[in-house]
Symmetry: C2
Subunit: 205 residues, 2 copies
């Protein structure tokens, strides 16, 4: 699996992973639209037909990129899980926004309906997305059980919290902000303010 260097080179050893890495690098350096199977193969040092032994087609490679990103985000959320549910809610938001800003390319492909299988078919991408959302739902349910979060449909509340966090991430990535460069500190401050405002309310009490 992780054995990298067979200098014999005919069998790459971990080409699938190398192709995904190459696609990420390519998109980072140029743009998300600049990903082509041929260039990806070129970067991985392999002929342009080789990827077809690992991905059915170009769309499958992009889907794999999205799935891998969700898996990593999911892992990160789990590993940073806090015992206190309120702290956990805040951690989820911060991890989410930080992940998005650190991996804008992956973030871009994580939310593309066109990469999902048509409805009806089992779709790994939809599944892992739902699993990730599920962590948020669980946290909010716990907070409701403890009487901290307002009662109401938990799924909807989770969707709304997710929306707020997701929207911040997307806007920070895709709109040129006039005011200030987006440093790690600024991200942290904005995310924190978003959470506080959302939790305590935009309106005065």
């Amino acid at each position: 699996m992780s054995a990298p260097s067979k200098s014999s080179a005919y069998h790459h050893g971990n080409l699938r992973q190398a192709l995904l890495d190459a696609a990420r690098a390519l998109a980072s350096e140029n743009s998300v639209d600049s990903i082509t199977l041929r260039e990806v193969a070129r970067r991985a040092g392999v002929s342009h037909a080789a990827p077809y032994h690992h991905f059915a087609d170009k769309r499958a490679l992009l889907r794999a990129l999205a799935i891998a990103a969700f898996v990593e985000l999911h892992d990160r959320l789990r590993s940073q899980k806090q015992a206190d549910p309120t702290a956990n809610l805040n951690a989820i938001g911060l991890v989410y926004v930080q992940f998005a800003l650190a991996h804008p390319v992956e973030f871009h492909f994580m939310f593309r309906k066109s990469l999902c299988e048509p409805p009806g078919k089992p779709d790994e991408l939809t599944d892992i997305a739902n699993q990730t959302l599920e962590m948020l739902i669980e946290t909010i349910r716990t907070l409701q059980d403890q009487g901290i979060v307002v009662p109401g449909d938990t799924q909807s509340l989770a969707l709304l919290v997710w929306s707020a966090i997701h929207g911040l991430a997307h806007i920070l990535i895709e709109t040129p902000m006039v005011a200030e460069p987006i440093t790690a500190a600024v991200v942290e401050r904005l995310t924190q303010t978003l959470q506080t405002t959302l939790q305590q309310g935009l309106f005065v009490r």
Copy 2:
């Protein structure tokens, strides 16, 4: 300007607009990536070189698409402006989400850093986006003046409110929701709940 049918056809009369319409239609029917200058020209019933009399290059056409969408959103927000600032805040959110769901193609291009001019250059797209955000900022400033919205940096608060609304729109467009089909009623309900939660707070008082 709006004179449409010169059957002489050599001079189209309103080709610029027709090209934008064709691009929108094309993207709706297939996907956002399926927009090509040649196909757009074909749909507009014109040779593939004709668009170059109206747009410098392909990117310019897409940018024009994004700008036109912002202009329309801006107009719509202004025309639906409410006298009561709280009602106005709610109206802004609803109009925004409804616009996004009605025009997913345009929404997609409105938030593409790659369509903006490099920083330093005057950029119409950035300008109109900021003007639109400005309407939200104004509303929130008014609400702060009236003691309804919590004090604090108005720009940041506006960014956060925008994030929440924007995130909801983006998620509704790009993730296949398991639960329910996204009817107009569902959109209205979710948006309303988002606003209430954001204003009153996720946590119990």
